[in-house]
Symmetry: C2
Subunit: 331 residues, 2 copies
């Protein structure tokens, strides 16, 4: 152990008694998409599989917080776990665009700074959330898109994969079905998606948020939703809160949903739960927008709310809470 770390531990030991009854809170929340699957069509086997996927991501993130790691590492690990799980619409298993390709978007934000990095429209990056983090840490930029983002991935040695990596049998079937129904859907607003995301508070009091998605099945090439847009689908600031959204991206962009929640907390002194409720059940609903968010504030309060049929989600904190749910009534 390094000397500074040893000293820090000794100091913690000395001041521990004063704080023993109330250690600094840890908290993480994740989502795996809103309104994705009609509860009537969810088989017990499917439900168990989704729950296991959510639990794996939740616990991967919380383990990092528990051993003193940063919220940034925790949200990266949680999102990467869901990117690698083909059940979720991010990374492997992302939905396919009109041309039959996965086109992936992701963003990460460190509430300490704050700093942010994002990528959009990448088609060969195994873990878009890691590329978003490289943009934040290794470039002076916040957002890189399309081929330029993939060039940056090459420069940074990120893992690239062929397009077939993303094209799972289930997503190819979904695309074919969507194309058949294209006529009737053309005029409708884009439907909700299985975007994944995580927000966390670490021991040092820093907040972070991360979101990753394949967007919409059969989407127009080049369409970018809210996930990689700072303020819309992803936002974190140590002074207020961290938010990750999932739902109809265009509505989230126009309403600047993630930042607006933090603005209500900062400027109107709403609690996190009140601010989330205001956005999801008032502002978003008023315009017809469907979806949900997960959020955490600097006190470790977690809010998870949605106006869609369900939102796959999980929460865990240092007060002993650990739950996974998919629909209302914490089911």
């Amino acid at each position: 152990m390094s000397r500074p770390r040893l000293l820090a531990l000794l100091c913690l030991g000395l001041i521990a008694p004063a704080h023993a009854s109330e250690p600094r809170p840890l908290a993480i929340a994740i989502h795996g998409g809103a309104g994705v699957i009609d509860p009537a069509k969810m088989t017990p086997a499917h439900a168990a599989s989704y729950r296991a996927g959510l639990a794996a991501a939740l616990d991967a993130g919380y383990a990092i917080l528990e051993r003193g790691g940063s919220s940034l590492d925790a949200v990266t690990a949680a999102v990467r776990t869901m990117e690698d799980d083909p059940q979720f619409n991010a990374g492997r298993g992302a939905v396919l665009n009109h041309d039959g390709d996965a086109e992936l978007d992701a963003a990460i934000m460190d509430g300490h700074g704050p700093r942010a990095g994002a990528v959009a429209g990448v088609r060969h990056v195994k873990n878009p959330i890691e590329l978003a983090r490289l943009v934040m840490e290794k470039s002076p930029h916040v957002l890189l898109v399309a081929e330029g983002a993939e060039e940056f991935a090459l420069e940074q040695g990120a893992v690239l994969v062929p397009r077939e990596y993303f094209r799972t049998a289930a997503r190819i079937r979904e695309l074919e079905e969507a194309r058949r129904r294209a006529g009737e859907l053309k005029a409708a607003a884009p439907g909700p998606t299985g975007t994944v995301g995580a927000v966390a508070l670490d021991r040092a009091g820093h907040l972070a948020a991360a979101t990753s998605t394949g967007g919409l099945t059969d989407k127009h090439r080049g369409r970018v939703g809210d996930s990689p847009i700072v303020g819309a689908g992803t936002y974190a600031d140590d002074d207020s809160c961290a938010v990750s959204g999932t739902g109809q991206g265009e509505f989230f962009i126009r309403q600047v949903v993630a930042y607006d929640i933090c603005a209500l907390v900062k400027y109107r002194r709403l609690t996190l739960a009140q601010a989330v409720r205001e956005l999801i059940h008032e502002k978003l609903r008023r315009t017809g927008g469907e979806g949900g968010v997960i959020a955490v504030d600097r006190y470790g309060n977690i809010a998870m709310d949605f106006n869609s049929v369900g939102m796959f989600r999980g929460a865990r904190d240092s007060r002993g809470r650990r739950d996974i749910a998919m629909y209302r009534d914490a089911q």
Copy 2:
């Protein structure tokens, strides 16, 4: 003249006396970039030419408002005028990226709705602001990027041009100079740019904002700044205000500058000028971010402020104001 329009005019005639002393205000403000040219290096001929370019854009927009047109049409016309003028970093005359190409970003937002459309990383679209408007009006999406955005341009019949259209002799020289200095600049934050933008209030009380840019000279391919990001470089909502920004885009994105100004007006009841000052001289400066914004509220108040050496700008309203300025002291 159609019968409903005739009837409307007659009705206006009947109620006019009550409002004659205080007609509904009209206002437009434009910018042509912040911190672009050291005042010491600005020749009188250059200054006159920039002023003429700004005046042409300002008056093109105001003429539309004056004849009862929409703020959306006014900001489109003002920005398109600057896109077509090679002095400004947007459309023809946009700065060139590391590969020697113009890569253009633009966004437009209609405060009535609100609705928004944006494009990023397009390389063959003559007027990106018109394509952004087509995204808003003819697609269910808000943001299209790169080749997908150009496919959409083709589908919609937007005017496409070869890359040489954008590559003016002056911008090729600037790129060569930037490449020579690349070593020393690599570590520095991206410098301010000559982004263009407009905000307006029309007779019907609707606000609109539009922004268009070529981004940064020698930028990494795929880099997207704040201009096409709703909430960062462009925002409009009839309930609060309309904002267009120019400066170091990454700082504007992280701070959600355009929306934050409107949030301060809505939630903390600051005046527009106070909110703009808070963002530009407090929040942005605290993080080292350089740039400025133009903004208008639903009462027709105009705020234009910057923390850079200068900001090319113009304002005109129905109270008789009409001014063009480049540096402090309204020069």
